[in-house]
Each structure stands twice: as structure tokens, then as C-alpha cells.
């Protein structure tokens, strides 16, 4: 276990300069936001004193380096500031809304892998066949669809035309009672409390936004699966395995696919960051109460702390995901020796 821990530590340290850059950029960006939050939050008829008072509480009257130092100090205490819109600490806002985003994104990645891996494998197994061309068309088309448009198309077909999907308004039907919260994942919570009606309702609300997100991820994942499989299938050890007359399924799934998973995993990490971006748009289309729609509301209100918190949380998550992928490498591919 020790070398594994060591690797995790080393990767975290390697991520620090990047994280510092992220903090600098997000701080300077939000300080440029138009509109004075002190005026915005002083109310309908602000007195100059009230505004000056607010500016002092928000530290807006200090020079920028001092504001930045104060911000860094708070960060080290895990304090992301207080959202001016909700009045809650940003960290609390983000953590109550984060499970909704995570539920959506993880479902989308799972769906995308379920579509992309078979397509990519089929394309690689029968290069230049009909299925290869279909796989290529599917991945290029998926790559060219803006996720807001995909989402709207899905709503039109499955809600308006076929009437099989619920209205695109959040995680549950308006009259639905959310199950008692354990994990924040609506479906898991419903299963835990054996509330099958809520479970079905939550799943029905999840399918379309997850599919809209997944389609955005299918393109790169299919391509990378196909090219990785092609590379592995033409390698010596597969030729040897063929010569030993191993069963075809074992050759493809146990040997080739396992080796081809490395680049697929890397791409899945990149795609994750991309999906967090696409989330903002998809959450708007489906009124999904995640951190993406939170960030949008915060942007409109020039809510510094909330926007910074969102950007930081997402960038930190991305760095952590990349570390997780590095570690997964060691599990999937024994040739990568961790900490060696």
C-alpha cells in the first residue's frame, strides 16, 4: 500500500502549480465581472453608507493583492465565502447541489461508454466494413451536435411527440416527494428507502439529460476505442494468442480490450472535464438543479464567491480525476508500476 500512497501524494504535489494557476485565474476573472455586487445587494434604494458598508464587509475597498491574500487564507481554511444570492456558505451550496450533477455526469459517462466501446470494437474488428463506416458516421455526427440542441431534440421526440418522458423540469415530478436524503443520488436514495415510485420517477427524469450529455461524449470515446483496438490487434502478443488458437471472445475481450482500455481511460478523463462544461448547458435545458445551473445564476448576479467556488471545485475535481486515472492505470495495466 505504501508505494500507492506515495504515488497519490506525489501526483497531488505535481498538481499544485496548476491548481495555483486556477486560483489566480478564477480570482482575477471574477474581479473583472461587470456590476458592483455591493450596489446589487444593497437593496432597491441603497444609501451611500450602506454601499460603503457592504464594500467593507466584502473587502472590495482593499487593494487587489490584499483581496487575493485574504481569499487564499480563507481557502486554506476550506472557506469558499458566502453566496450573496442564497445567503449560504458557497461550500454548502455546492455540496448540496453537487450530487445532482455527479449523478447526471456519471450516468452520462456510463451510457457513453456503453455506446462507444461496442461501436469502436466492432469498427476495429471489421475495418472498412459497413459497421465501421456506421461507427464513424455516428461518432462524427455525435461530435457535431451541440448538447443544448440534442437535449431539445430529445425533449421534443420523447416528451412532446411520444409522451413517454416527463417534462424537462428537474429531478422529480412537481408533486413528487423526494426520498429521505442519504447519498444525494435521488435513485440510490429511493432504493435505500424502498420508495419504488420515486425511484421510477427519478430514473425517468434522469434518462434524457444523461443521454444528451452522453451523445456529446460518444464521438471521442468511439474513435479512441477503435484506434486503440486496431493498434492492439496488430501487436505480436495477439498474433501469438491467435497462433495458440485461443477462443475468439477471450482474445478480443480478455486480452485485446483490456490493453486497449488505457487510452480509453485517458480520454474518459478528458471527456469528464468536457462533460462538466456541457453540464452547464444541459442543466439549463432540463432545469436540473446541479452546480452548473448554480454557476449560471451566480454569473448573472455577479456573485463573486459562488462563481469562484464553482470554478475551483470543478478544476480541483478535474485534477483529482486525472490522479485517479493514473492510479487506475496500474490496476488495468500491470506494466505501469506505480511509484517505481
Amino acid at each position: 500500500m505504501a508505494p500507492l500512497l506515495w504515488t497519490i501524494l506525489r501526483r497531488l504535489v505535481l498538481g499544485l502549480p496548476t491548481l495555483f494557476g486556477v486560483v489566480v485565474v478564477s480570482f482575477s476573472l471574477t474581479r473583472l465581472l461587470p456590476g458592483d455586487p455591493a450596489v446589487y445587494f444593497a437593496g432597491a434604494a441603497p444609501t451611500p453608507e450602506a454601499i460603503a458598508d457592504l464594500r467593507r464587509t466584502l473587502l472590495l475597498d482593499r487593494p487587489l493583492p490584499q483581496q487575493f491574500a485574504a481569499y487564499l487564507g480563507d481557502l486554506l481554511h476550506g472557506d469558499l465565502g458566502r453566496s450573496l444570492v442564497t445567503g449560504q456558505p458557497v461550500l454548502q451550496d455546492l455540496s448540496t447541489r453537487f450530487p445532482a450533477t455527479l449523478e447526471l455526469t456519471l450516468t452520462a459517462i456510463a451510457l457513453a461508454l456503453l455506446i462507444a466501446i461496442p461501436l469502436g470494437v466492432a469498427g476495429a474488428m471489421r475495418k472498412r466494413s459497413g459497421i465501421d463506416h456506421i461507427a464513424r458516421m455516428v461518432s462524427t455526427t455525435a461530435l457535431s451536435m451541440p448538447s443544448f440542441f440534442t437535449g431539445l431534440l430529445l425533449v421534443f421526440v420523447f416528451y412532446y411527440l411520444l409522451g413517454v418522458a416527463p417534462a424537462p423540469l428537474g429531478r422529480l415530478a412537481p408533486m413528487g416527494f423526494p426520498p429521505p436524503e442519504h447519498t444525494g443520488f435521488m435513485i440510490v436514495d429511493a432504493i435505500l428507502s424502498r420508495d419504488w415510485a420515486a425511484c421510477r420517477d427519478a430514473a425517468a427524469h434522469l434518462v434524457l439529460p444523461a443521454l444528451a450529455l452522453a451523445i456529446a461524449a460518444v464521438g471521442p470515446l468511439t474513435r479512441v476505442t477503435r484506434s486503440a483496438m486496431l493498434a492492439v490487434l496488430s501487436s505480436d502478443f495477439i498474433r501469438a494468442a491467435r497462433a495458440y488458437d485461443l477462443p475468439r471472445w477471450k482474445l478480443v475481450y480478455a486480452y485485446a480490450l483490456r490493453n486497449a482500455m488505457l487510452p480509453v481511460l485517458t480520454t474518459a478523463g478528458v471527456v469528464f472535464s468536457f462533460l462538466i462544461s456541457a453540464n452547464v448547458v444541459v442543466e439549463k435545458v432540463f432545469s436540473w438543479p446541479g452546480i452548473g445551473s448554480y454557476a449560471l445564476e451566480a454569473l448573472v448576479a455577479s456573485d463573486y464567491a459562488a462563481v469562484q467556488g464553482f470554478v475551483l471545485a470543478v478544476a480541483t475535481l478535474y485534477v483529482l480525476i486525472n490522479i485517479a486515472i493514473d492510479i487506475l492505470y496500474g490496476i488495468v495495466d500491470v506494466r505501469v508500476r506505480l511509484g517505481g
Binding site: P34, T140, F156, I276
Partner: protein
């Protein structure tokens, strides 16, 4: 010219790429002369004819205030193409300068340049673009800057890798020996060798730049109504999707998908051609 001959040869082998190239040329033509071809004013409202189904008179229907959607799509072509091309052009200039210097000089210059690039890449790129537009103010110009900034890392990395790989090559040494200074070698001898890869990268990111800009205006940043632009038109039609007025959002969305799809197909085709040429 060698490039023209290579393109001719490539298009003969790969008719799909030739067709998409033709389509993109046609779209560019439409962006230039489109406004003279449409029968309707894209901003003229007509409340008596609001939310009409597509008909002979207005082939894509009319929107909630009776504007002709087809005319708006045609007018929007110019704006959408302008945003994507100028953002990509800016990103190429900045990205290749950064990448060339980093790849050529190495050392701490390289480290700082790559730190900048890695920092940009650590953000979810759309979120960063969103923050930039919100910070600089909602305008077309700022959408261009934001899209350019999030595209810079791709060009910087491509150019850096290419330059790094050829830094010690024989022709570089020859250029040095014949008395060229470092910058001259970099600009006239090394940089031109990166152009094929840059071209591939360009067609591949152009579609993405377009989607990015449209998504920004979809969430309400950048372009303001009533300016016709595909993203904002889809946003305006979004509310009508659940009541069944599908044409308001469908046609501008389809225009966007078609153009991005053909850009992606062209990018793939060009990449295959250049790969094949480099292998020969």
C-alpha cells in the same frame, strides 16, 4: 503548386471530403451574399403571422413575433462564421507563437509557456469561456476572445511538439551554419514545417469553436436579441419545443449541426490525406 496537386489527388481518392469542401465553400458564399438573396428582413416583426408553420412563403416558418426564420438563419451564417474563423485565427497566431518559442528554446521559457497552457487546460474549457465573457462583458468581440483563449492550448501543444521534434534536424543545422539567427531559423525554416499539422488542427477545432460560441449565446452570454445568431435562435425556440412549435428551434439548430458536421468531416479527410502523404 505542390499543395494544390496534393489536394487534387486527395479529393479524387476521397470524394466525400471533396463534397464537404464544396459545401463549406458554398456556405462561405452564402455568408457573403446571403443577405441579398433573402426575400424577408430578418428583424421585421409581423405579429399577425407569428408562429406559422413552414410554408412556401417562409420555408422555415416564423417565430414568436412573426420574423421569418429562414432569413434569420441566412443572416446568422455570416456572424457565426465570422466568430469561428476570427477566434481560430487568433488562437493560431497566439498558440503557434507560444508553441514555437517553447519548443525551440526549451528550458524555463518552455516551462512557463507550458504552465500557462496547462492552467488553461485545467479548466473545463466551456466554463472558462463563460467566465471570460462574463468578466469582459457580453459582446461579439468578447465571445471571439474567449473562444480564442480556450483554443490556444491545442495549437501551442501541436506546434511545440512539431518544433521540438525537428529542432536538431539537419536542415536546421544547415540554416544555422549559413548564418541565420535563431529567430530567423525558427520563423523561416522550422515554423513552415508545422503548417500541415496546423491545418488539420484548424479544421478539427473550427467546428468546436463554432459549437462553443453558439453555446455561449444559448445560455445568454454574448449576442443580444434581436441579432440573428444560431445559438440564440435555438434558445428563443427552446420554450416552444414543449408546446409543439418545433420549427422555431429546429432549423437554426440544424444549420449549426450541418456546418459543424461538414467541418469535422473535412478535418478528418484532410488529416487522412496529410498522414498518407507523410507516410509516403
Amino acid at each position: 503548386m505542390a499543395l494544390a496537386a496534393a489536394l487534387h489527388d486527395g479529393f479524387r481518392r476521397d470524394p466525400l471530403t471533396a463534397i464537404t469542401a464544396g459545401f463549406i465553400v458554398a456556405i462561405c458564399g452564402l455568408a457573403l451574399i446571403g443577405p441579398w438573396l433573402t426575400l424577408h428582413d430578418p428583424l421585421a416583426t409581423d405579429s399577425a403571422n407569428a408562429l406559422r408553420l413552414p410554408s412556401w412563403h417562409s420555408p422555415c416558418g416564423t417565430d414568436q413575433v412573426g420574423r421569418d426564420i429562414c432569413a434569420r438563419i441566412v443572416y446568422a451564417t455570416r456572424l457565426d462564421l465570422f466568430i469561428a474563423t476570427s477566434a481560430v485565427a487568433l488562437a493560431i497566431v497566439v498558440g503557434s507563437a507560444l508553441g514555437s518559442v517553447a519548443g525551440f528554446f526549451g528550458g524555463w521559457v518552455d516551462r512557463i509557456a507550458m504552465w500557462v497552457v496547462d492552467t488553461i487546460m485545467a479548466f473545463p474549457l466551456f466554463v472558462l469561456a463563460m467566465g471570460i465573457v462574463a468578466a469582459l462583458g457580453s459582446s461579439v468581440e468578447n465571445i471571439v476572445y474567449a473562444t480564442a483563449i480556450v483554443n490556444v492550448p491545442f495549437y501551442a501543444r501541436t506546434v511545440r511538439a512539431e518544433i521540438n521534434q525537428r529542432r536538431e534536424a539537419g536542415f536546421v543545422e544547415a540554416a544555422r551554419v549559413s548564418g541565420n539567427g535563431s529567430l530567423r531559423v525558427l520563423a523561416y525554416h522550422l515554423f513552415p514545417t508545422t503548417v500541415p499539422q496546423l491545418a488539420v488542427q484548424m479544421t478539427l477545432t473550427m467546428g468546436w469553436a463554432m459549437l462553443n460560441a453558439a453555446a455561449l449565446s444559448y445560455i445568454g452570454l454574448g449576442i443580444r436579441p434581436p441579432t440573428p445568431e444560431w445559438g440564440i435562435m435555438v434558445a428563443e425556440g427552446a420554450g416552444f419545443i414543449i408546446t409543439g412549435e418545433w420549427w422555431v428551434a429546429l432549423f437554426p439548430g440544424l444549420a449549426l449541426v450541418l456546418v459543424v458536421l461538414s467541418l469535422n468531416l473535412l478535418g478528418d479527410g484532410l488529416r487522412d490525406m496529410i498522414d498518407a502523404r507523410e507516410r509516403r
